[in-house]
């Protein structure tokens, strides 16, 4: 075959044709580049409130009553205090696994605030605040942290799974929850959370793709806090935004200022409306930052982040910004904030006390929680552990 490869035809037609081909290819390269640029340039960061607490996007300002605005602020302040107390309690050895939340309040609470009670949350390990505001009692959140299964038992009417530890697993499950809601004709949504790192998992792509394929009422939130433990988002992917990953799945995607609670709320509200109207899922990327360490289990952010970057993000603080906005409207004062802080501290204290009073969990209970009907070998082990425990 080899020698025939080099035979070339020099007729006018072939000559032109090769020429054409070359041009097209060149054109294609440009085209590909332009496609990517087009996609990426379309993902501008959506903002309502700037860092000074001024409205920069009047027409997209969500319709929220004064009371609702104050409630949003209350929740953010409360959650900041909860974070501070949780860190302190962890250091005293009175809490277990804990992933700090400060900095991410707008992303976490702005999305949750747009939900209805019947909506179903599939959180990751850092998303305990959303669960709390969806109805999980505080003492149970503490029990989750301490590694007690009662922390994972959602009370009647709290539609959620307990925080997922495996990065990405919740994304495919959320697609399933949303499909189920659709099959049942419910007017509700499934909302799930992951981080910038989580968008690298296969489950992330599978989840958004399935939901898209079935037009399932799901909201996929990516809290892009710029780091997956120590790995910066630039090392996760060549994509300029994480929101653009929606494009390949054929679903809506939006990048939001994750330090702006009004923008986060508005984007989620909109996604929810479209979802329940049968218009399919949305991917929401919130640009945010975690001030603290990854978890309280020995992470040292100074090994991978600069102080400059920390302070750059602290200037965008969601609470400071929203406080300015509310103060300008005459809706918020220092006294009001102090009341929230005091209330938070008291409720945290009471919840810890209640968690302390929870009976210690036994291996026999773990065995009982394995199957609906225990197989013989587990019955045997159950007896064995019960005997040990009664000693």
């Amino acid at each position: 075959m080899g020698k025939y490869n080099s035979i070339q035809c020099f007729c006018e037609f072939c000559k032109n044709n090769t020429q054409n081909k070359k041009d097209i290819r060149k054109e294609e390269v440009n085209l590909l580049k332009r496609t990517l640029e087009n996609i990426e340039s379309q993902f501008e960061t959506f903002q309502v409130l700037n860092e000074e607490g001024e409205i920069v996007n009047e027409e997209l300002m969500p319709e929220l009553s004064d009371d609702e605005l104050k409630e949003l602020m209350t929740r953010m302040v409360y959650t900041r205090i909860l974070d501070q107390r949780s860190i302190a309690l962890n250091r005293q050895g009175r809490l277990g696994f804990y992933a700090p939340t400060a900095g991410q309040e707008a992303s976490q609470l702005g999305t949750q605030f747009a939900l209805e009670k019947e909506d179903f949350i599939l959180p990751a390990y850092r998303d305990v605040p959303q669960l709390i505001w969806h109805g999980l009692p505080l003492y149970q959140a503490f029990l989750f942290s301490r590694g007690h299964y009662h922390g994972n038992q959602m009370p009647e009417g709290v539609n959620a799974l307990s925080p997922q530890i495996i990065i990405g697993a919740q994304y495919t499950q959320a697609a399933g929850v949303a499909m189920g809601m659709k099959k049942r004709g419910k007017k509700s949504v499934a909302i799930t959370y992951t981080g910038d790192g989580g968008t690298s998992q296969g489950d992330f792509y599978e989840g958004i793709n399935f939901a898209g394929a079935y037009k399932a009422p799901a909201i996929f939130v990516v809290q892009n806090n710029r780091f997956a433990i120590s790995v910066p988002v630039e090392k996760q992917t060549a994509a300029q935004t994480l929101a653009q990953k929606a494009v390949a799945a054929g679903i809506e995607g939006i990048q939001v200022d994750g330090m702006d609670v009004l923008a986060v709320y508005a984007a989620t509200k909109d996604a929810r409306e479209r979802a329940v109207n049968g218009e399919g899922p949305t991917l929401i990327e919130t640009l945010t930052y975690r001030y603290g360490p990854h978890t309280m289990a020995g992470d040292d952010p100074t090994r991978y982040r600069t102080e400059d970057l920390d302070s750059e993000w602290e200037k965008k603080d969601p609470i400071v910004r929203f406080r300015k906005f509310l103060e300008n409207k005459g809706l918020w004062s220092e006294e009001q904030e102090n009341e929230v802080i005091e209330k938070a501290k008291e409720e945290i204290k009471a919840a810890i006390k209640k968690a302390d009073g929870q009976p210690k969990q036994k291996v026999s209970e773990l065995i009982e929680n394995m199957y609906e009907v225990l197989p013989a070998h587990l019955e045997e082990q159950l007896e064995e552990y019960k005997a040990k425990e009664s000693k």
Binding site: Y149, I166, S200, Q201, V231, L366, I367
Partner: protein, 325 residues
């Protein structure tokens, strides 16, 4: 000789092999600048550059998959799975693909890959961090599974694993990382894979263990000695392939055996070991071979962890049963 913890010995082995063979690549989540969440790869990126020691995107199946691909290009990948519970994410890439590369290419390709991963209970981790999943890998023909119990073995076994031309899962018990130091030679040395170590000689009963259960068995043996029972303790070091010869030799001497594993009782390594013993040495046995294992639940929630995990008292109890049979 330097005194090292197990994690230091592991870092030392990685450094030794990165120096020794330019095809060795170390990668995984947070292993670069951060030096790994346990600092197992501390300083290695600075020393060998980002080309050889690098962070990956957060995706275990991707990590194990690129290891297979890199192997076909002549590299010797040493990926880290941050906690072994996350191996489920990579199960196809490991048991489905890596294990079969040599076989399915008719012995024309191979996967000289060493997956390092922390596992093991008692350090209060959240779900799917502490599980003992060695049995899942050991069940897959084509894979080897190595589990060191001390700093000296950790270094020699890791070097052997990296130099091995077949895929190895090398499991690092978190509780052992910093629990004690011992002398570890500075130079490179290897410990043959598939060879157990008789840690303690005895005549009355054989304790077969690996990982953190070696310490528990040694402690049990000390206690038993006070009662006049001489226990022999075998540290398997490699659970696949198993060193049957060393186990049987011991059984022929002591005639009584207790097999100890941290994993749940159902299926698992201990069941395999017991089977091998009864097939090969039943006439030497004076009592049934008993197992010490965790109960058959999903790994315990933190608050029940201490009770759930097997300990030296459980071992003593079973030894007394085989002695008094």
């Amino acid at each position: 000789m330097a005194q090292m913890t197990m994690i230091q010995a592991i870092t030392d082995a990685l450094r030794t092999e990165l120096k020794n063979d330019e095809n060795v690549l170390v990668f995984g989540e947070d292993v670069g600048q951060n030096g790994g969440v346990f600092r197992a790869t501390e300083g290695l990126q600075q020393e060998f550059g980002e080309d050889r020691v690098f962070d990956t995107p957060l995706a275990e199946s991707g990590i194990a998959g690129i290891a297979v691909g890199l192997a076909t290009q002549g590299f010797r990948p040493v990926p880290e799975i941050q906690f072994f519970g996350f191996i489920y994410e990579a199960m196809d890439a490991v048991n489905g693909q890596m294990a079969r590369l040599r076989y399915r290419t008719g012995n024309t390709m191979n996967a000289p890959i060493t997956i390092r991963s922390p596992f093991g209970g008692g350090v209060h981790t959240p779900e799917l961090h502490a599980d003992s999943l060695e049995g899942l890998i050991a069940q897959q023909p084509g894979m080897k599974v190595v589990i060191p119990s001390n700093p000296y073995d950790a270094k020699g076994l890791l070097i052997s694993s990296i130099r091995d031309n077949d895929p190895v899962v090398y499991l690092e018990h978190m509780k052992l990382y910093r629990s004690f130091r011992e002398e570890v030679p500075e130079e490179a040395y290897t410990i043959e894979l598939g060879k157990a170590n008789v840690k303690r000689e005895g005549t009355d009963v054989t304790l077969v263990a690996y990982g953190a259960m070696v310490q528990a068995s040694m402690k049990a043996a000390e206690e038993l000695e006070k009662e006049g029972i001489q226990a022999e303790v075998i540290d398997l070091r490699t659970v696949m392939p198993l060193d049957i010869e060393t186990i049987i030799k011991s059984v022929e001497k002591t005639n009584r055996v207790v097999v100890v594993q941290e994993a749940q009782r159902q299926a698992g390594m201990a069941a395999q070991i017991v089977t091998e013993i009864q097939e090969r040495a039943i006439l030497h046995l004076e009592a049934p071979v008993l197992r010490v294992a965790a109960p058959d639940t999903v790994y315990a929630f933190t608050q029940a962890e201490e009770v759930w995990l097997p300990n030296y008292n459980d071992i003593i109890e079973k030894v007394n049963k085989v002695i008094n049979f």
